[in-house]
Every structure is written in structure tokens, then in C-alpha cells.
């Protein structure tokens, strides 16, 4: 077997473009708000990728990943505040968070990685809740309700870099972010990363080839804890305050949302998820207070209909696009857009009207999509329900049309594959189902509880 070269032209191009994007980012988005948004996305990217080391790479669904992120953040802010006694340069402080996450990973990993699957999920939830409950018991370390604040400007830094201006903070996040993203990718290519995939897909067989699945899971959890801790450390420096909220189930839920929406089957999936969810969170929460509900609907919809996340959509279309068949799909997609938009509008109208009724007793009109209407009126509700039902039916028809087109395209791809069978450059064609799910390797592990 020939090992593929480590550094290929394609890889250099992708990572170079990524680095260039990171450097150029603040030159384009130089406004205060856009810059802090970029910082937030950077932190969440590292966090979501560290989470995907467990979910996507090792098949471990953790409900308590905020533990490593939050305690990494608390450790960093304490190290920052102890600057007089312990002069660690601010540039290196995220590593303190990383080491804290690593140490916690060793402790909690020992308990939780004994088993995979559902048991692991439950234990991770329990540990997450335990640490969150502890945060209120030790106000000296966790700062109680107010949290712990720090000041990242610790004096005249090297070459005048004090991390006072947000832009300098951005480059700190970008630097650590790039290193972490690269390191996590490299890790996924190591024998450990490959064995993690094997343990995810078939623990018994990986045991047969001489690996201890428990040990592989443990190592992956420890390393994932490290990167989550780095993300927490960056967050502590960026916001200069750490509250108990960072440890809560809410944070753990947010990272699940990012990873799943982005797609756990591809390495870059969680990056998309982190960027999208961070932007959406700020955009949607500024216009409506029902944003959590929309996120819940979005998440459940993704799990039901696109379990492979956005990355799986990209992967499917990339192949069709490179075969030059994308234009066969576009018309049906356009056709589906109209009912999809109407359906969204119907749901939004109902949710917003309901919120208007619950929240403000007395006032009779509200502005929705630029129209003044009465949230208690029969007309608007009937309209919304009608729009929802009709568009749902139309969407069903459109989905059927899309499915038929896909079948077409897939047969075409298969025939081409057969006629160019010896073509070295051709990508292997996978079945439709496999492409659909992206996470279907878990499907093989059915009914673990018989007997």
C-alpha cells in the first residue's frame, strides 16, 4: 500500500486560502460590531470542531461539552487575574484553558468513556449538570451570579501588542484558531484519528485488530477537552468576563446545534455550523424574542430531514456539479423555494402573533412582514394556517419532484462511472442513502438491548 503524500497541492491551496481569509477578515469587516462577530465565530469554530472530535470522529454524543469549555475559561481568567504572581504572557494564556480542559478530560473521561453510545450520553449529561450545579456552590472560584471578570491588558506588551484593541484580540483568536483547526485536522489523519473512526463504526472489529476501544475513546475525549479548553480560554480573554452561564446546559446545547447543523460527517461541517449559528443567533435574536423556538424548529427539522447537516448537502452537490449535472436539479429547487418560503412565513406569523398575545395584553395591532394586523383576529390566523397547510402540501409535491430528479442524476452518475471504470480520477460513487445521511454508520448498531 502506498501512503498518500502528506502535503498535496490541493491541501496547500485550501489551508492557504483559509489562512489568507483569516488575515484579511478584519480588513474587510473592520467595524466594531463585525469584528467582534468574527471573534465570536472564531471561538465557536474551535469549540464546535473540538466537539466534533467526539460526535463526528468517535461517535460519542456528549451532552456536557460545556464543562471543558467553561472550566477552561474560568482557569484562564483566574490565570489572567493572578498575573502579578504568575506572569504568563497573555498570548499563551489560552493554553492554560487547554491544559485545564485536558486535565478535566482525564478525570471525567476515565468515568465516562468506559461505555459508548447511549450510556456515554447520559453520563456526559450527568457530569455536565454536576459541574453546572457546583458553579453555584463555590462562589470564590466561579464568582456566583456576577461571574469573574479580568483585564486582558496586563502592561506594555511585546512590540506594543497589548491586546487592548479588538483587532489585536482578533489576531490572537485567529492565530490560536488556525493552529487548533490545523492540529485537529492533523489529528484526524493520525492512526489515533483513524482508529477513532473504526471505534465509531465497529468497536468489536477494532478490538479484533488489537486496539482497545475504551482507550481510543478516552484519548479522543482528553484531546477534545484540550481544544474545548483553548476555545474557553479565548472566550475568557475576548469577553474579559466568565459567568456560570458558560458551564450551563445551554452552552452544551449550542455546540450540539452548531455541529449537527453544520454536519458531523465532514471535517469542515462544524465550521459552517459555528459561523451560521453565531450569525443567526445575533440576527434573529435582535428582531424577535421567539428566536429560541425558531432554533428548536430548525434543529429538529435538520435532524429529521437533513441528518448529515449542511456539509452533506455540499458533498452531494459538489459531485453532481463536477459531473455537470447540476442544472438538471436547479429548476425543481427553484420550484420548491416558493412553497418553502410561504410555509416559513406561515409559521413565523403564527409564532409572532401568539407571542404578541401572550406578551402584551391590550394592544391590538402589530406589524408583521410590513403589514399591520390584529394578532387576536380570526383573519390573520386563518390566513397563516391556510398558507401553512397549502404550502406544506405543495412542498411535498416539490420534494417528490426533487427526489425523481435525484434518481435521474444518480443513475446517470452510475452509468458514467461504469463506462469510465478504470479512470483513476473518478470519485467512487456511493449509494443515495449513504449520501443522504452522512451519519448512517451508527445505523448498523441496532437494538443494543435485546435479551
Amino acid at each position: 500500500m502506498i501512503t498518500p503524500p502528506l502535503v498535496t497541492r490541493r491541501r496547500l491551496a485550501v489551508w492557504g486560502a483559509f489562512l489568507a481569509m483569516l488575515i484579511a477578515g478584519p480588513l474587510i469587516f473592520n467595524k466594531g460590531f463585525a469584528l467582534s462577530l468574527l471573534c465570536q465565530i472564531g471561538i465557536m469554530t474551535v469549540f464546535a470542531l473540538s466537539y466534533n472530535m467526539l460526535l463526528g470522529h468517535t461517535g460519542l454524543l456528549s451532552f456536557g461539552h460545556a464543562v471543558y469549555y467553561g472550566l477552561g475559561a474560568f482557569s484562564t481568567v483566574h490565570a489572567l487575574n493572578m498575573h502579578a504572581a504568575l506572569p504568563i504572557p497573555v498570548t499563551l494564556l489560552p493554553l492554560v484553558g487547554g491544559v485545564a480542559g485536558l486535565a478535566l478530560g482525564v478525570i471525567f473521561g476515565y468515568v465516562s468513556t468506559k461505555k459508548a453510545g447511549t450510556t456515554f450520553s447520559m453520563i456526559s449529561l450527568g457530569i455536565g449538570e454536576m459541574v453546572a450545579a457546583m458553579s453555584l456552590m463555590f462562589p470564590a472560584f466561579f464568582g456566583g451570579e456576577g461571574g469573574i471578570s479580568g483585564n486582558r491588558v496586563t502592561g506594555a506588551g511585546l512590540f506594543g501588542i497589548t491586546y487592548g484593541p479588538q483587532r489585536q484580540m482578533y489576531y490572537l483568536i485567529a492565530g490560536w484558531g488556525f493552529l487548533s483547526v490545523l492540529a485537529m485536522y492533523a489529528l484526524s489523519e493520525t492512526p489515533l484519528g483513524r482508529m477513532a473512526n473504526a471505534v465509531r463504526d465497529n468497536p468489536e472489529r477494532s478490538q479484533f485488530v488489537g486496539y482497545n476501544p475504551q482507550r481510543v475513546r478516552f484519548l479522543m475525549l482528553v484531546l477534545s477537552g484540550f481544544f474545548a479548553g483553548v476555545a474557553g480560554g479565548l472566550a475568557a480573554l475576548n469577553y474579559e468576563i466568565v459567568t456560570a452561564e458558560t458551564l450551563s446546559a445551554h452552552t452544551s446545547g449550542a455546540v450540539i446545534l452548531m455541529a449537527v447543523v453544520g454536519g458531523v460527517g465532514q471535517y469542515y461541517g462544524p465550521i459552517i455550523g459555528a459561523a451560521l449559528i453565531t450569525v443567526l443567533q445575533i440576527a434573529v435574536s435582535s428582531v424577535t424574542q421567539a428566536w429560541m423556538l425558531y432554533f428548536g424548529l430548525f434543529f429538529v427539522g435538520m435532524v429529521l430531514y437533513v441528518p448529515g447537516g449542511i456539509a452533506s448537502i455540499i458533498v452531494r452537490h459538489e459531485r453532481v456539479w463536477s459531473a455537470g449535472l447540476l442544472r438538471r436539479l436547479v429548476p425543481t429547487y427553484l420550484l420548491a423555494t416558493v412553497p418553502a418560503l410561504v410555509m416559513t412565513a406561515g409559521v413565523v406569523a403564527m409564532v409572532e402573533m401568539a407571542y404578541a398575545i401572550v406578551d402584551s395584553i391590550g394592544y391590538t395591532t402589530m406589524r408583521l412582514f410590513g403589514v399591520l394586523l390584529n394578532p387576536k383576529g380570526l383573519g390573520p390566523w386563518a390566513g397563516a394556517v391556510l398558507a401553512l397547510v397549502v404550502s406544506a402540501l405543495l412542498l411535498r409535491l416539490a420534494a417528490r419532484a426533487i427526489g425523481a430528479r435525484w434518481q435521474d442524476v444518480n443513475t446517470e452518475l452510475l452509468t458514467r462511472e461504469k463506462s469510465h471504470g478504470d479512470d483513476a480520477g473518478a470519485a467512487p460513487v456511493r449509494g443515495v442513502e449513504e449520501l443522504r445521511t452522512g451519519v448512517d454508520h451508527q445505523g448498523s448498531e441496532s437494538r443494543s438491548t435485546s435479551g
Binding site: 460526535l55 461517535g59 454524543l61 451532552f63 468515568v111 465516562s112 468506559k114 461505555k115 453510545g117 447511549t118 450510556t119 450520553s121 447520559m122 453520563i123 449529561l125 450527568g126 457530569i127 449538570e129 454536576m130 450545579a133 457546583m134 453555584l136 456552590m137 463555590f138 462562589p139 470564590a140 446546559a249 446545547g253 450540539i256 449537527v260 421567539a290 429560541m292 423556538l293 432554533f295 428548536g296 424548529l297 434543529f299 429538529v300 435532524v303 429529521l304 441528518p307 409564532v351 401568539a354 407571542y355 401572550v358 406578551d359 445521511t437 451519519v439 448512517d440 454508520h441 451508527q442 445505523g443 448498523s444 448498531e445 441496532s446 437494538r447 443494543s448 438491548t449 435485546s450 435479551g451
Partner: protein
């Protein structure tokens, strides 16, 4: 001592309530291999439905209809949600029910608002049942015990002595065989799921007014129910019963103990630094993390749980 007995009784009441949740969860788990993350959300729905019904026709109809409504919701969730994600594997199922908890909480906020709703104990069940060493035990607590024990006896009888129970138990261990004998196993699953949801709903009906009915009630109780299932042993109903009582009693009793670690150390003659945060913790403060501590210890020393047949 007097108050200890009363808090023991309170603990048993709370433990029985927990068992109404954990029994359904563990039954669904052992049958379908699905850990229903949204199980506590059904508890919350039960409380809210009962509150809504009680504003129209009073408490007693709510006691009957709210669990039935929750059961219908549970059945729909199984039929149109879980069955669909089932083919994507266990992780997708867990993620789906995890998303549902979010969704249910937000929908409850949307309909009933973010504040606590005024769901009260019915007038006929107010007052004290008996007085023990000057501390009274409310009638409603007694009623809660009665309902939960009644439900458990009914469940036991249903599973043991009826034909439905026979099929359910058979589908638990040998679903293929049951299917070969002509039973619709997916439908049995749906009914089991709906039944488990209804039991959680009933717990909500009687627990919502005893404790509090607010959108955060599911998130507060959910993790504890999971801990019970782990501590009791995955899939073991008897284990869930023991763990429910254990955690219910421990948590209730611990809340009522005003000692701190420092006081206890002084009692047994050990001197500890009084200014350390750890020694100033009172037992009451430790109560919220006790279930999780118990779970971690259990996993280290007895990974299969109290009554689990196999290692979890």
C-alpha cells in the same frame, strides 16, 4: 428527629413521583433502545394541560384527561418523529428527542408565558392529613402517594396479567418473533411510548401543583431522571424503583439538614480550617449535586447499576 420522619415521608413522596417518570423512561428504553431525552418534557406538558383544564372544569377532570392528552402527544412524537429518525441510528434519535425538549419548552413559553402559572392544589385536598410530633403531613402528599402507588400497581398488573402486557413483554426481548406471530410491533412501540408519556404526564398533573409549574420544570427534573435510570441499572424497572426512592429520600432529607462539613468534622473531633470554601458548605448546599455524585460513584464501583443485568 421529629422533622426527620416527616422529611422521610416527603422524600418517599418525591421518590414515588420520580419513579412515575423513570419507570416510563426505562420501559421505553428497554423496549426500543431509545433513551427519550424529552421524557421530562411530557411531565411538564402534563402539568400545563392539567392547569389549563383546571381553569375550565377543575382539578379532577384534569387528572384524567391531561395524561391522556400527553399520551396522544407522545404517540404522535413516536409515530411521526422517532420512527422516521430511527433508521439514522441511535445518535439521531437522541438528538431528535434532545431537540424536542427545546421545542416543548419554547412552545410552553409561547402559550402560557415565561412566568410560573397558578396551578393550585384543589380545595378538597388542602389541609393536613395527620400531625406527627407537631409537624403536619399534608393531605395532598398522601394523595400523591396514593396516585403514584395506584398507577404502579395498575402498570404491574397490566404487564403481568393481561394479554397486552404479555405482548409488550414479548416484544421487549424478541421483537422479530412477536412480529412473525402476526403482531404489529411498531404499533406496540407507539403504544408503549404513548403509555410512558402518559405516565410522565400523570406525574406532572400531581407534581405540578405540589411543586411548581413553570417552563423550566422539565430542564430541572430531566437530568435527575436520567441519573436514576443509570443508578438503577439501564432497563431495570425494579432498579429504577429503588434508585428513585433512594434519590428522592436523600435529596429531601439533605435539604432539611442544616449542618455544614465543618460542623460534622467538629462533632467527630476533627479540626478543619474554617475559612476554606469546601468546609463551609452545608449539607443543604450539597443536595443538588448529590444525584450526580451518586451516579459517578456508581459508575466507578458498580457500572451495571443497582439492579442492571449487564454492565451499562
Amino acid at each position: 428527629m421529629q422533622s426527620a420522619l416527616i422529611s422521610l415521608l416527603n422524600g418517599v413522596t418525591y421518590g414515588l413521583l420520580l419513579f412515575m417518570l423513570s419507570s416510563g423512561l426505562t420501559l421505553i428504553f428497554s423496549m426500543m433502545g431509545i433513551l427519550n431525552f424529552a421524557h421530562a418534557a411530557f411531565y411538564m406538558l402534563g402539568a400545563y394541560f392539567a392547569y389549563q383544564i383546571s381553569t375550565y372544569v377543575g382539578f379532577w377532570p384534569g387528572l384524567v384527561f391531561a395524561p391522556l392528552l400527553v399520551g396522544v402527544v407522545g404517540g404522535l412524537v413516536e409515530r411521526y418523529g422517532i420512527r422516521k429518525v430511527h433508521r439514522y441510528g441511535h445518535i439521531a434519535e437522541l438528538l431528535f428527542t434532545f431537540g424536542l425538549t427545546f421545542l416543548f419548552e419554547e412552545i410552553v413559553k409561547l402559550i402560557w408565558g415565561k412566568a410560573t402559572v397558578d396551578y393550585r392544589i384543589p380545595f378538597s385536598l388542602e389541609g393536613s392529613l395527620f400531625t406527627l410530633f407537631n409537624t403536619s403531613f399534608p393531605v395532598y402528599k398522601g394523595f400523591m402517594m396514593l396516585v403514584s402507588v395506584g398507577m404502579l400497581v395498575a402498570l404491574y398488573a397490566l404487564l403481568t396479567y393481561t394479554r397486552i402486557g404479555l405482548i409488550v413483554r414479548a416484544a421487549l426481548s424478541r421483537p422479530e418473533m412477536v412480529e412473525a406471530l402476526g403482531h404489529n410491533v411498531p404499533r406496540v412501540f407507539t403504544w408503549t411510548f404513548a403509555g410512558g408519556a402518559a405516565m410522565a404526564g400523570l406525574a406532572g398533573v400531581i407534581g405540578g401543583n405540589a411543586f411548581v409549574t413553570e417552563p423550566g420544570m422539565a430542564a430541572a427534573l430531566g437530568p435527575i431522571v436520567f441519573v436514576i435510570v443509570v443508578v438503577g441499572g439501564l432497563g431495570s424497572v425494579v432498579g429504577a424503583f429503588a434508585a428513585s426512592l433512594l434519590i428522592g429520600i436523600l435529596q429531601t432529607v439533605m435539604v432539611s439538614i442544616d449542618y455544614s462539613v465543618l460542623d460534622i468534622a467538629r462533632e467527630i473531633g476533627v479540626k478543619l480550617p474554617p475559612e476554606a470554601a469546601l468546609t463551609r458548605l452545608s449539607i443543604t448546599q450539597l443536595a443538588p449535586i448529590m444525584p450526580y455524585m451518586l451516579m459517578v460513584l456508581m459508575l466507578i464501583f458498580r457500572p451495571r447499576g443497582l439492579m442492571g443485568a449487564r454492565e451499562t
